[in-house]
Amino acid sequence: MDAFLQLTVSGLSTGMIYALAAVGFVVIYKASDVINFAQGDLLLFGTYLIFFGIVQLGLPWTLGVLLTLVLAAGLGLLVERTVLRPLVGEPIISMIMVTIGLSSVLRALANALWGAQPRTFPSFLPSGEVRIGTAVVGADRLIAIPLALVLLGALALFFRRSRDGVAMRAIADDQLAALSMGISIPRVFAVAWALAAVTAAVGGMMLGSIVGVSQSVAVVGLRVFPVVILGGLDSIGGAVLGGAIIGLLEVYTGAYIGHGLNLIVPYILLIVVLMIRPYGLFGKEIIERV
């Protein structure tokens, strides 16, 4: 039972980080129909930027986090303006390939700036262990769960209440109608990318704090696909639930079945979901069938 509890906390914390990466993906997809294969690299930049702020500049961690968020938002805006804007309205394959190219450039940039060897930085999440009953759980993992949930809640509130959030939903609903109501589509796309970069950076900071700073953080980007397909491509709540399910599934298979099966279990689930319910748990049921 202790092991089970430990696994659950570990799976949920990983799942919440997946959810943070996935929410960014969903925001971009909702606003502009772009499939972002560079989401993992945005995560990677989050990890490296906090390392840059806290270790290389020697800032206190509050300032470091703030700097990371600002720089990440800037990166998102820059990418949208230079790479994605010229391709609005191009076929899906172009969109997929351009974000793949982007991912390659971003990774090379991170590598050139910070080198390939793994680094660590003083964790800003509380370290040490927490006892729940008889189980021992890492405090950083435990705190990551509510932290992520609060952020995701704030994001949901942004979509409900703020002007940009409503504009984004309007565009997702009907681009032409939104345009005729005076909503600036380029502005919304830019906000979407900035938001995606910021949520990914938060995920990256947590991941960096838990597992350390290295290139392997970018691998999480590929885990985003099972998560968003399971939850529904255009649903934030779906991304959270999908992240939790995939995170738990991974640790449970790793612990109880083994054989490295935890590496592909998300993809097997993905194929099953695609065949049975391609719009996921909460997605809109307007998927195009052949």
Partner: protein, 356 residues
């Protein structure tokens, strides 16, 4: 001498021919001649690159049949190449089959596997299909690394070099002829495929699948056929790698491989055979050229030379992005622009549609 202002065919045979214009036939002749004399002048370094390009061309044409001509996005190229390579290696090693038969069987096995993973395409399209093939890539890769009894797992599989006419094809020079012949055969088959009923059906599905089914194309059947044909050649490329490198490791067939091949057909031009060749050549040459530049900088700017892998990766990404933004139809469109320019040279006006 009269100025050519157009070619008018007076028979159906001439109009539906593989190479319709005299100029095309001359260019093809020159190209084949160049391919034949190239190995006698090239160093083994360039022969190695030529072999890589030939293999990549086969793989790129295979992928182009699926992505460029039929419009089904696949991120599973690496997995299908792995199937081809491992099948060819295992047929030779375990069953002791001659290499030619191994390659043929490997192609057929890959076609079968490709068709299996093509089944989701009956229900999914666009990005959903792309994500499904991404899953296929990860699952096949996992099978290869976690089934040591069959594939040797993460250990390398050593394949003997093929023999022909009493010569072991283990040098770049000897293998070049095999690679060039297979690449040429693939190009010829594909060019003819798209003059046939099946090929036209593929293109119809790409352009508008609903309209295609209305005019009587069996969309399900032809989609699966496209997956089978495409994977057949992708498997061939994989088998060629097995016999060229004589060593098969799973690292050669990751998602990165899928991405590299997609980049080739994007940069070369979707839905053209010429583009597959151009793209394969550019994407193969790019890292090699950057390495050469880096070597020459080793003495003067060692700090810059140390960044070489990063420069290669960034250049790869930049090439994709720049082509998509500035020339989405790729190198094959650039080539057409050049041809159009010289078509009526020295006059300034151009032909309307740019011919084929």
């Amino acid at each position: 001498m009269s100025m050519e202002c157009g070619v008018y065919h007076t028979t159906y045979e001439a109009d539906t021919g593989l190479r319709r214009l005299p100029a095309e036939r001359i260019r093809l002749g020159i190209f084949i001649l160049a391919v034949v004399i190239f190995p006698f002048f090239a160093s083994s370094y360039w022969l190695n690159i030529a072999n890589q390009i030939a293999i990549a061309t086969v793989g790129a044409i295979g992928l182009n049949i699926l992505v460029g001509y039929t419009g089904q996005i696949s991120l599973g190229q690496g997995a299908f190449m792995a199937v081809g390579a491992y099948a060819a290696g295992l047929f030779t090693l375990r069953l002791g089959l001659p290499w030619g038969l191994s390659i043929a069987l490997a192609c057929i096995v890959t076609a079968a596997v490709g068709t299996f993973f093509g089944i989701p395409s009956l229900r999914l399209k666009g990005l959903y299909l792309a994500i499904a093939t991404l899953a296929a890539q990860e699952i096949v890769q996992w099978l290869v690394t976690h089934w040591p009894a069959l594939t040797g797992g993460t250990e390398a599989l050593v394949v003997p070099a093929p023999r022909a006419f009493g010569i072991r094809l283990n040098t770049d020079f000897a293998f070049y002829w095999l690679a060039a012949a297979l690449a040429g055969g693939t190009a010829l088959f594909t060019a003819n495929l798209f003059r046939s009923r099946a090929g036209r059906a593929f293109v119809a599905i790409r352009d508008q699948d609903v309209a295609a089914s209305v005019i009587g194309v069996n969309v399900f059947r032809y989609k699966l056929l496209a997956f089978a044909t495409s994977s057949f050649f992708v498997g061939l490329a994989g088998a060629m790698i097995a016999f060229y490198r004589n060593i098969i490791t799973w690292e050669r067939f990751t998602l990165e491989t899928s991405i590299i091949y997609l980049a080739m057909i994007i940069v070369g031009g979707l839905g053209t055979i010429r583009g597959s060749l151009f793209g394969a050549a550019l994407i193969t040459l790019l890292p090699a050229l950057i390495t050469n530049v880096g070597r020459s900088l080793q003495g003067s700017a060692p700090a810059l030379a140390a960044q070489l892998p990063n420069v290669q990766q960034a250049a790869f990404g930049l090439v994709i992005i720049l082509f998509l933004i500035f020339e989405p139809e790729g190198l094959s469109k650039l080539w057409r622009n050049v041809k159009d320019y010289f078509h009526v040279w020295p006059f300034a006006y151009r032909r309307g549609d740019g011919g084929r």
